[in-house]
């Protein structure tokens, strides 16, 4: 176990929290980097908390400020449905993403207090535009629960089927989804997920055994949750180094590098 993995985290937030915990002292980019150093996380795809808990129009600007000139933090932008007054149309937004080296989009699914309807009549133009540019879309359920056991599987099925070139990434998928998840992974090659909360015994190994290692990513949900569990589980997983490295960071690096190509 001497080969050290390179970790590229798909699920990190920067910015103030609505309900900070007593140990949340520095929630800026600098504080995030300190936490990443502590846990041995080399790079991270980050979203600003304002994009999730405030409004994307402010958070998406702030994340550029926070990540500017830092090669370890990579910005992602949160998107809203097209056709309304509060957000730029997909084509223009994607131009701006390109100008600002933003290589991933994030959508916060509809929940009791807000979010976005994911169905194709509302978001289809986005799915089409992101698929064309091979920009990954991170699905953030934004439940109050720390992890998500209730994904809208029928909607995910329809999206993946209608847009086979869209790379759809489930964030924070919890351990209770296994019975739903396997059929979707088997059916849709364009469905990805992070393993940060998929804490079934031998869960990571079984995913790789059945579906290969190319569609699983490391995600911690810092600064809310400790990366210690998933990082240890992946580091010591009963898998070849090459597979563990893909999940630790190789797959995300590949996804981001293929955007715009």
């Amino acid at each position: 176990m001497n080969e050290k993995l390179y970790f590229f985290d798909v699920n990190v937030q920067v910015g103030p929290l609505t309900v900070p915990q007593p140990w949340h002292r520095d929630l800026t980019a600098k504080g995030t980097l300190d936490l990443m150093d502590r846990f041995g996380i080399d790079e991270a795809l980050v979203v600003h908390t304002l994009s999730r808990e405030g409004h994307p129009s402010r958070g998406n600007v702030r994340i550029l400020d926070e990540t500017c000139c830092n090669r370890r933090l990579h910005p992602s932008w949160t998107i809203l449905p097209p056709g309304g007054p509060e957000f730029v149309p997909p084509d223009r937004c994607i131009e701006l993403m390109g100008d600002n080296e933003v290589s991933a989009a994030r959508v916060v699914a509809k929940y009791a207090g807000g979010g976005v309807p994911l169905e194709i009549p509302w978001m289809g133009k986005w799915y089409e535009a992101l698929a064309e540019k091979r920009i990954p879309l991170l699905l953030d359920m934004n439940h109050t629960s720390p992890f998500y056991n209730e994904f809208p599987w029928m909607t995910i099925d329809r999206i993946c089927e209608a847009f086979p070139k869209l790379r759809l990434v489930l964030l924070g998928a919890g351990y209770r989804i296994q019975r739903d998840l396997y059929a979707m992974l088997a059916k849709h090659e364009n469905l990805y997920m992070d393993i940060g909360f998929y804490c079934l015994q031998a869960g990571i190994e079984d995913l790789v055994f059945r579906f290969g290692a190319n569609r699983f990513l490391f995600g911690s949900y810092l600064p809310h949750y400790s990366p210690g569990g998933p990082k240890f589980a992946l580091t010591y997983a009963d898998l070849p180094f090459e597979d563990r490295q893909k999940i630790a960071g190789g797959n995300l690096k590949r996804l981001l590098s293929e955007a715009w190509s």
Binding site: M1, N2, E3, K4, L5, V19, Q21, P22, W23, H24, L35, R38, F39, G40, P146, F147, G174, Y175, R176, Q178, R179, F197, C199, L200, Q201, A202, G203, E205, D206, L222, P223, H224, Y225, S226, P227, G228, G229, P230, K231, F232, A233, T235, Y236, A237
Partner: protein, 284 residues
């Protein structure tokens, strides 16, 4: 060394051989309520082999759901088969009669090889301070046993029971999965500090950043117990969050095994016969 364990796991190295690890909150056999991968009996020895775990304390799924007595029997069979590395809880179903519960306590703990009691008021739909649990708590008080419960209903209920049964050890499951700013969480910390027979555990599917450290700061490392819900949930996820916590090695060693070992050693049940089988010898 103060942070040897942290540096070891951060660099993906092998853990020290003298680390005593006891998983005090484990299971066996697949549950119906969610899908698992590796919850069968054959998987039980996996962390023992890979991480030199001294013991896992299991509760079979049947014990806490449909077949308490059959599940308790299965727990005793597993303990006998795996010779001390797999150890067990017996379960009291509060919906059984007092006579049945007393018989079961005697069968599993006095005559059998199980060492502690697990209660699950959520599944059994019975209040923790209700009459159905009295035989178990009286027995635990008499023999100084550990009583693990998925929930204690409320801090006030736990406080009342800890005072009524001062020789029993009350083990609060899933504590560090809680968010620490919530008033009820603070109340559990307060009653733990006020009662030396209350312990908090680390079993949780999610690990809020800093929760283990905050708990240790609030109640002391002597009062925190390592559990994982293995082999439903991942032993590695539960183990990793302790090893990566911002705590010194002495605190981690207490949490990972020494505290629970101390509780079990205080039991008045006397020595148990953990008959070695061929499979457990291979695990050694």
């Amino acid at each position: 060394m103060k942070n040897l364990l942290f540096r070891t796991v951060k660099n993906g190295l092998s853990l020290p051989e003298d680390l005593v690890v006891i998983d005090a909150h484990a299971h066996v056999d697949p549950p119906c309520v969610f899908g698992t991968v590796c919850a069968h009996e054959q998987g039980l020895l996996e962390p023992i082999r890979r991480f030199n775990v001294k013991a896992v304390y299991v509760t079979p799924i049947d014990s806490i759901l449909t077949d308490t007595i059959g599940g308790n029997t299965r727990a005793m069979e597993l303990v006998a088969r795996y010779g001390g590395r797999v150890r067990g809880y017996m379960v009291v179903n509060p919906n059984h009669s007092r006579k049945v519960s007393e018989q079961e306590l005697n069968r599993c703990l006095l005559e059998g090889n199980l060492e502690a009691i697990k209660l699950h008021s959520f599944f059994h739909d019975h209040p923790m301070d209700g009459p159905g649990y009295e035989p178990a708590l009286e027995f635990a008080d008499e023999f100084h046993l550990c009583v693990l419960s998925h929930t204690w209903d409320s801090p006030d209920t736990l406080c009342k029971l800890a005072e009524k049964y001062p020789n029993a050890f009350f083990y609060v499951a899933h504590f560090t999965g809680n968010l620490m700013h919530r008033p009820e969480t603070r109340k559990y910390i307060d009653i733990t500090n006020a009662h030396p027979n209350i312990y908090l555990d680390t079993t949780s599917s999610a690990a809020p950043l800093g929760a283990v450290e905050y708990t240790v700061e609030a109640v002391g490392a002597d009062r925190v117990i390592f559990g994982t819900d293995y082999n439903w949930l991942s032993f590695e996820f539960g183990f990793g969050k302790i090893l990566y916590a911002d705590l010194d090695d002495e605190s981690k060693r207490k949490i990972l095994g020494l505290n629970f070992q101390g509780i079990i050693q205080r039991s008045l049940l006397g020595p148990k016969d953990f008959s070695q089988s061929e499979s457990s010898k291979r695990a050694d």
